[in-house]
Symmetry: C2
Subunit: 334 residues, 2 copies
């Protein structure tokens, strides 16, 4: 049997336990040219909220009744495809299900097995590449600049902080809770941390960024985006990397201070890591190099069991996690 | 005597007749190294609203009791400065007053007298340069792209439309009233016009830009910005050139659809023409060339008399004008 998490209905506001349901379907027969991958880990990401909305986005919506879209790493368990062998490890959009049968086009092979598999869904996957291209290509940091990051303890934010330090910038992170904030500094090398749960963010911003902000790497949207606009320096840049505070809102809140972009000749730009596909390999090589040199670390928070997909998804928004959220669908063999 | 328009109080919301008052002061004596310019024309611009606000902007606020800041063209009437001769024509920030005495640093000389003086405050002044650098350097239009312009019949918008056509783009303009819209097409070469006073702008946008918008040149902000975001094409650009609908609002309305910048990998960027000072001469030469070739025209709306400063300023926002608003402070000699 193949267990699958299937979209049940389009959520209004925050998804509920009824948004998805668990289905068991008989395993399909493998046809000529196909490969069957057992999914081991699945990446759980805020963008999944957008995928189940009807509105226009960068990918078509997940259909009602379809398997929930997700990036996974998995292992080939049977194959009628000349390019794959049983035991090969792969990563790609396998979906939240035990087994993905496909013509193989969705998969990329994992060459090295010295790196833990889950890292291919975090620092060596979309998360790491999002931090890399968002900060370097959209933000274009210069040595000595001050960079503010929201969601700084999160999967992307923790990597942005470290890459910013590698570039010689002063890094200020916003996160929720004293422990997370401590960790920003001790673990990810941030120069200063703002605890949005116990501090007045605006006062803290004025204190930690007295001369303003050169780059704001926005993982949350909402009020913090407005504050960052208000503190933007001349020629400041705002990197829009999703906006967690907005995903579940029926009516988005626009940044009232956007006119700061005129006054300060600022730039606010969105990006999607998918657009950089041609540069993935080069970027991953650089990231792996920084990892080897000990300049870049990543943490993964692994939840166990396909039946726990929804509680895992909820943790994206409650902040009750440490590192990149990953769902273990099946235990790794070996 | 020197008549001056002086800032009386900081307006809350839209300025009133009490925001400024007319003062007559004795003419100052000219000291060694100074030059006295009689102001002929003054440029009346939406950005003046920002200059009288207390809040941080790209220039310090005009102080209460100070002469209202304005770009002017004028004529040297007396001089103790070796660089100026009586009869020289100059342009610079002379302010709303009959006579400006200064050390000369604020002035640039007007070399050619074959071009009407008022053009140095419109197409050959900040207005033309704003259209030029905003569209070309921030918008970066490519041949065949669709460009939407709000305030399309205004001083900047009418020039943006013509430069866009020179670049081979499809130009769609938004303006208020059937006559203005007709003029967009017949006079400024727009391909299509939307009358925001009589049409549903959203429906008209869908009709005139069925495949979306590559560049939105935003002169007004507010709802139209949100609609443009909703119709933005992949890699679309939004040029923020002030936002007339927002200048007088106590609380700005932020663009709720800004997440379109993520979905479409879009860019929203502000600019100030002042930042391009080094390139003014080159740009003005190109603009003058297009004027000579008959590809680029400009219209000026001249109001007469320093005492009419406030009614002239009001016309910026009521739309009751045709072309660049200019106040004649003193009649040109000749």
């Amino acid at each position: 049997m193949n267990r699958q998490i299937v979209l049940n209905e389009r959520p209004v506001g925050f998804p509920t336990a009824d948004t998805w349901h668990l289905l068991e379907v008989p395993e399909k027969k493998l046809r000529e040219g196909e490969v069957n991958v057992k999914n081991i880990y699945a990446s759980i990401d805020p963008t999944m909220r957008g995928w189940v909305s009807e509105r226009k986005s960068y990918l078509p919506p997940v259909e009602i009744g379809a398997v929930m879209r997700a990036l996974t790493v998995g292992e080939v368990v049977s194959t009628k495809h000349p390019g794959f062998q049983v035991g090969d490890y792969v990563h790609g959009p396998g979906g939240i299900q035990d087994f993905s049968i496909s013509n193989g086009e969705i998969w990329r092979k994992i060459e090295s097995t010295s790196i833990p598999l889950e890292k291919y869904l975090s620092i060596l996957g979309m998360t790491g590449l999002t931090a890399y291209f968002g900060l370097l290509d959209i933000g274009k940091p210069k040595e000595g600049e001050t960079i503010l990051v929201s969601g700084a303890g999160g999967a992307v934010g923790s990597i942005v902080g470290q890459i910013g330090k590698i570039m010689g910038c002063r890094m200020v992170g916003i996160a929720g809770g004293a422990e997370k904030c401590k960790r920003l500094i001790s673990h990810y090398g941030y120069d200063a941390a703002i605890d949005y749960k116990s501090e007045n963010v605006w006062s803290a911003l004025k204190k930690t960024c007295p001369e303003g902000i050169d780059i704001y790497f926005d993982n949350v949207g909402g009020e913090v985006l407005d504050m960052a606009l208000a503190k933007l320096k001349l020629k400041g840049r705002i990197v829009l990397c999703g906006a967690i505070s907005q995903y579940n809102a029926d009516k988005n809140q626009g940044p009232a201070n956007y006119m700061s972009l005129v006054i300060n000749r600022g730039r606010m730009e969105g990006f999607l890591v998918m657009d950089y596909a041609k540069e993935y390999r080069k970027a991953a090589t650089e990231i792996a190099g920084w990892m080897r040199e000990g300049k870049l670390i990543s943490d993964e928070h692994i939840e166990i069991g396909i039946e726990n997909f929804f509680p895992a998804f909820q943790k994206l928004f409650t902040g009750n996690k440490r590192g990149k959220l990953i769902l273990q669908i099946n235990p790794p063999t070996s």
